[in-house]
């Protein structure tokens, strides 16, 4: 059945028209442009601040909580902006990255900004490698988990409602977890494809905001693929981080592994991400299962970064203090 266009049906200026998918999409696009511009502006200011701090302290921003959180935020933002530059449709990730950046900067501001002398064991090339890859790992996995979160959200929103018969796509599906992707390509409610009772206006009110956001997001398969790519990238960085840290520990203390709390939790995180990759590559875990797993895995990683310093006495104390 050919669908009528909403703006041909609805009176101009009506609430329904303001909530119509095209109007919402345009509004969303304007917000996204502004938000991205602000993110770039914030990133520029932050870069200058870190550079000044570096010059002032005489070492990179990786010693004590103030510097660590601040540079963590900077790297997360850097990865986000890089992805956005590559693909504008990934701007939605700002919903995850920008609040995380805000929280990290808040944590940094709440910490002491005092510049401390770097201990001799910190004056090594391996520490720089260790920290650089740690930040990349955390940034990539944060974004990977963010994409997974969006996957789950979009998948849930894409499920046909009891009174709403979604458009059935003729895709050949080989994984039940991706079945919902059929729904992701479904047009917004009320755009003519929806055949639920109650008419288009009822559908717009019921899910105000959803159509524009939903259409702005990449398809579920793309989200799934992107989450996998980011998590894989994070895993590689995590591996390099552990290797470099191990070599540094050997240089500084004579032992490449001492089951320190941070070491142990990092290894646990690495194993969890290893499980994720095995399950995905060997058992074909995709879709919501993989997304939930990526979200849970991030919990381990965040605990290794933020929780260990609170609950344990660790030889990373100077770094986390």
């Amino acid at each position: 059945m050919p669908a009528a266009k909403p703006d041909q049906v609805l009176p101009a200026g009506s609430e329904a028209q303001q909530l119509s998918p095209p109007a919402l999409a345009a509004k969303l696009e304007r917000h996204l442009i502004r938000a991205t511009f602000l993110a770039w502006a914030g990133f520029a200011v932050h870069t200058v601040q870190l550079a000044l701090r570096w010059m002032d302290a005489g070492h990179g921003p990786y010693y004590r909580r103030y510097e660590v959180y601040s540079s963590d935020a900077w790297v997360a933002l850097l990865i986000f902006l890089f992805l956005v530059t590559e693909n504008r449709r990934l701007r939605f990730l700002g919903v995850v990255v920008l609040p995380a950046t805000f929280l990290l900067l808040g944590g940094a501001i709440m910490s002491s900004p005092e510049i401390r002398t770097l201990p001799p064991s910190f004056r090594t090339f391996w520490l720089v490698i260790h920290i650089l890859f740690a930040k990349l790992a955390y940034g990539a996995n944060l974004l990977g988990a963010g994409v997974s979160g969006f996957y789950l959200w979009k998948e849930r929103r894409s499920r046909p409602l009891p009174d709403d018969v979604g458009l059935q796509f003729p895709l050949r599906q080989e994984s039940p977890s991706l079945t919902a992707d059929q729904g992701s390509h479904r047009e917004a409610p009320g755009s003519g494809h929806s055949q639920g009772n109650g008419g288009p206006a009822r559908d717009w009110k019921r899910s105000a905001g959803d159509p524009a956001v939903m259409n702005g997001l990449p398809a579920l398969v793309r989200l799934d693929d992107l989450a996998y790519s980011l998590t894989t990238f994070g895993f590689i960085n995590l591996t390099v981080m552990i290797v470099a840290g191990s070599i540094w520990a050997r240089t500084a203390w004579g032992s490449y592994w001492s089951w320190d709390a941070v070491e142990t939790w990092s290894l646990v995180s690495w194993l969890v991400y290893g499980l994720y990759l095995h399950l995905r590559r060997t058992y074909g875990w995709r879709g919501s299962k993989a997304a939930w797993f990526a979200l849970a895995a991030l919990g381990f990683l965040l605990f290794a970064l933020f929780g260990v310093g609170v609950f344990y006495r660790t030889n990373h104390a100077p770094y986390l203090g």
């Binding site: 001799p120 064991s121 895709l171 390509h185 290797v243 240089t251 194993l271 499980l275 074909g284």
Partner: protein, 452 residues
């Protein structure tokens, strides 16, 4: 039976179970303490994982080699693929549709189903050939080989490494003595927690390491401080000599930046502290004893300690002594002779020229250093006061002179034959990871649609 066992050993399911168990054990160890990682269940788990890893890796090599040999086979034509004409169309590779190997075709060419989405509807779909560098085949086996080599290195470390911590006062010599022979009928390896070597504060060696001979004699010539802005200690340096008999065979400076190697051992900086020297005399001037008290320091505020404290029995008298030490203010003088002149130029000693010849006579100079001394017998305190260098405390027919002070330096000597294995494993593993994940595949980017 053998085939079944091999299948079980090479199953990914077993690997997943073992990795999960290892993760759970890791969490338990993080909660309950690192002793979990030296228990038999953990060891059994790691050995099982090692066996599984070995079997899986062997299988991966066999498969990779087979694919490598068949890589020159004919190319698979792209077929069944349709593409929309709309340039704004999006496409997506549907990863679940990986068809894997194509019988009779090169195994390097896998098929994915590419879905073309146009305006929310599927506009085209079909298989797409993806070609990869043949090196990719060896990425995963290399990565797993790296993990195996790391595991082997870990076992070598656990079994054969040794670790000893000791302290030496300036001018003194430390001799690494041969291990004690245990048991009446011969020797056995020391048990974990044994401290068989006289002079070590702590000493551990792997369960599989046997008795050994002396490996080194170390003399601490002097300790210097490297200071930064505001006089804060940035590092403390030990000028050390390794001796054979009385002959010096190597002289070097140990700092916190990295270890010093000698005779297959790595020597690391551990800590430093002060050691005030006292002379105990009777009231008639007859000398009873001379002794040094190596003090502990609090480093919670950084490398400039907050306090220095020690206690012990007075040698030759039935009294106990408690000492708090207050170093002299930081001097601005340069360092005395050091093996490394460039380094020495940056070194300012805290004590000026106070420590003339360690172990011998001391030039007292302007010290400013003080000790707060408490002497007591049981609960009865017989002296409580402060002394500068050269001053004496009198109590109960004795006099105790604060004669001079030196510095002591804490070392750890480490022998770890597992390190080369672990580092080789790192190299192999990272190479494997790079091969698996970074080699380009020609059609892997989803938004590069073939037009027309």
């Amino acid at each position: 039976m053998g085939r079944k066992a091999w299948r079980f050993l090479t199953s990914v399911r077993l690997a997943l179970v073992l990795i999960t168990l290892l993760t759970v054990t890791g969490v338990l160890g993080a909660i309950a303490g690192r002793r979990v990682f030296s228990t038999w269940p953990f060891l059994l788990l790691v050995v099982s994982l090692g066996l599984n890893l070995t079997a899986c890796t062997l299988l991966q090599y066999v498969r990779a080699w087979r694919r490598w040999r068949s890589r020159a086979m004919e190319k698979l034509p792209e077929k069944g693929f349709t593409s929309p004409s709309d340039p704004g169309a999006q496409d997506a590779i549907l990863p679940v549709a990986i068809a894997g190997e194509v019988p009779g075709r090169s195994s390097l060419q896998v098929i994915r189903r590419r879905i073309i989405v146009q305006g929310g509807a599927v506009a085209g779909e079909g298989p797409v050939r993806i070609s990869r560098s043949p090196l990719w085949l060896f990425g995963s086996p290399l990565f797993h080989t790296g993990l195996l080599v790391i595991l082997v290195g870990g076992f070598i470390t656990a079994g054969w490494s040794s670790y000893g911590a000791f302290g030496v006062i300036e001018g003194d010599v430390f001799v690494d003595r041969p291990a004690v022979t245990f048991g009446p009928g011969g020797s056995r390896a020391p048990l974990a927690g044994d401290s068989p070597i006289d002079g070590y504060v702590t000493y551990h060696q792997g369960r599989l390491a046997g008795a050994r001979g002396s490996r080194f004699t170390l003399r601490l010539n002097r300790v210097d401080f490297q200071r930064g802005v505001g006089g804060k200690v940035e590092d403390y340096l030990a000028d050390i000599s390794f001796l054979e008999g009385k002959r010096e065979v190597k002289r070097t400076v140990l700092s916190g930046v990295g270890p010093v190697n000698f005779a297959g051992l790595d020597f690391y900086q551990k800590t430093y502290g002060y050691a005030p020297a006292f002379i105990l005399r009777r009231s008639d001037g007859r000398e009873v004893s001379r002794f040094l008290l190596a003090l502990e320091s609090d480093f919670s505020g950084g490398l400039s300690p907050g306090w220095h404290y020690g206690q012990g029995n007075l040698p030759g008298a039935p009294y106990q002594v408690r000492v708090n030490f207050f170093p002299a203010p930081v001097g601005s003088g340069g360092s005395r002779g050091s093996p490394d002149d460039a380094r020495a130029a940056t070194v300012a000693t805290a004590r000026g020229d106070l420590l003339g010849s360690a172990g011998g006579t001391m030039r007292m100079g302007e010290s400013g250093a003080r000790v707060h001394l408490e002497v007591q017998r049981g609960q009865e305190r017989v002296y409580d006061g402060e002394l500068a260098v050269g001053q004496k405390a009198g109590f109960a027919g004795y006099s105790l002179e604060f004669h001079h002070y030196r510095l002591w330096y804490g070392f750890t000597a480490k022998y770890d034959p597992g390190v080369p294995w672990v580092y080789s494993g790192f190299l192999l593993g990272l190479t494997g990871l790079i091969l698996v994940f970074t080699l380009p595949d020609s059609h892997s980017r989803p938004n590069k649609t073939k037009k027309g």
